[in-house]
Amino acid sequence: MNQSVSKAAQENAKNAKPERDMQQVGWNREQMAKRCAQDIEDGSYVNLGIGIPEKVAQYVPDGREVIYHTENGLLGMGTAPSEDELDPDLINAGKKPVTAIPGASYFHHGDSFAMIRGNHIDVCVLGAMQVSAKGDLANWSTGAADAIPAVGGAMDLVAGVKTIYIITQHTTKNGEAKILPECTFPLTGQGVVSRIYSDLAVIDVTAQGLVLTELAPEVSFEYVQARTGVELINALG
């Protein structure tokens, strides 16, 4: 997923633009992945998006057995290969070399997306450009006129996987809110997001609205609210 943000996005996301601290506040990328990994249950079938979501696999707690699906035709994806194991015919959806675990299986794209579309994958972790209060997700296009549109499997994943987790910086590099009343970028899917793991907080998408359930260390609810385009429900207080 392209996580860069266009001029159009900067102009549109006017809800909250506090200055972003240069100093580290909240969770870093590894910590976000680690926090998300706590919620991946034993026995889950999981598809991880490119970028921070990929890191989730490294942090699944010991004792849990999780099977990773990559939409280009492999269930039971393993870690990156050693030099010896490297095979250009064995790659993941990000086109990076991977390995296959004992108990893996290969299949064609038709069958692979039948797994996705047919609700067989339990969890998909993706990046986001914007998430709306209703769980709409925009993560494939800024809608900029000069961009080369590219969607890949993102729309299939959000439409078909049972639970969609989002890992994202809470705001853009310029401090604009990415969690908004409505997405201003073209949607990837409507009402598809279950939970957001940002650098500042964990937020659930519920019928009542966005519920903040957890704060990064030393981060206050007010700090998060000030960087969020919609009113959050504080489950902590």
């Binding site: 108990g103 299986s105 290969y106 299949f107 797994m115 579309r117 047919g118 067989h120 994958i121």
Partner: protein
């Protein structure tokens, strides 16, 4: 840890409820999960909708499930075969419903159910009584009928080998409906001749990936329907009328 092995067929079928939809694998006896079906008879769930290509033969397996009055409705393509005695009698007496579906449409409806496709179009049955009441739509000058997907609460299938993840391989034409039924059911129960270690099935040769499988029951020496029929076996044995 993932281990889909279940100790017995009885345990595997224990949560099938009255009114559930159950897909049962097999084309005739090839691939028929006799031991799972007999466990379902012992279990006793009623008012089932059963999806299978046929209606069983003799008085064992699927035919016995029907004879035991557990099936309210059959969805199948060919309800009468040699040695098929139970269904025809119940059907003629209006004691069981039948939804007759062309075999390929049955397969594609099941595959669609597993693949998240709620409806599709096919040429099959256009202009025949089996298209009656269905939407007909023209694409590029040809008429097609719209068919809805089929899903099930449970699938009962038979495979040759499984590992603890539920990866399956099959034997010859006993494969038939099992892979697509495994996809279309919420709970897929598989009786296998042999459970092997993880990694013993080559990932290139897996036919049904474990993601479609929920419970595995090893039945090392399954009964063969045709042999049971030949031997005049009736299941459950108590259904055999005195003097038969």
């Amino acid at each position: 840890m993932i281990d889909k092995n279940i100790s017995s067929c009885a345990t595997a079928v224990a949560d099938i409820k009255d009114g559930d939809t159950v897909m049962i694998g097999g084309f005739g006896e090839a691939g028929s999960p006799i031991e799972l079906i007999h466990a379902l008879i012992d279990h006793g769930a009623k008012d089932l909708t059963v999806i299978n290509n046929n209606t069983g033969s003799g008085r064992v397996g699927l035919a016995a499930l029907i004879e035991n009055n557990q099936v309210a409705k059959m969805i199948c393509s060919y309800p009468r075969t040699a040695n098929s005695l139970v269904f025809p009698e119940l059907y003629r007496n209006n004691k069981i419903q039948l939804e007759l579906v062309p075999q390929g449409t049955l397969a594609e409806r099941i595959r669609a159910g597993g693949a998240g496709v709620p409806a599709f179009y096919t040429k099959t049955s256009v202009g025949t009584p089996l298209a009656k009441g269905k939407e007909i739509r023209n694409f590029d000058g040809h008429d097609y009928v719209m068919e809805r997907s089929l899903k099930a609460d449970f699938a009962l299938i038979k495979a040759k080998c499984a590992d603890r993840y539920g990866n399956l391989i099959f034997n010859k034409t006993a494969r038939n409906f099992a892979p697509i039924m495994a996809m279309a059911a919420t709970n897929t129960l598989v009786q296998v001749n042999q459970v092997v270690a993880l990694g013993d099935i080559n990932p290139e040769h897996v036919v049904t990936p474990g993601i479609f499988v929920n419970r595995i029951i090893e039945v090392a020496n399954p009964q063969q329907e045709s042999q049971l029929v030949k031997d005049g076996v009736v299941y459950p044995p108590m259904n055999k009328v005195a003097g038969e």
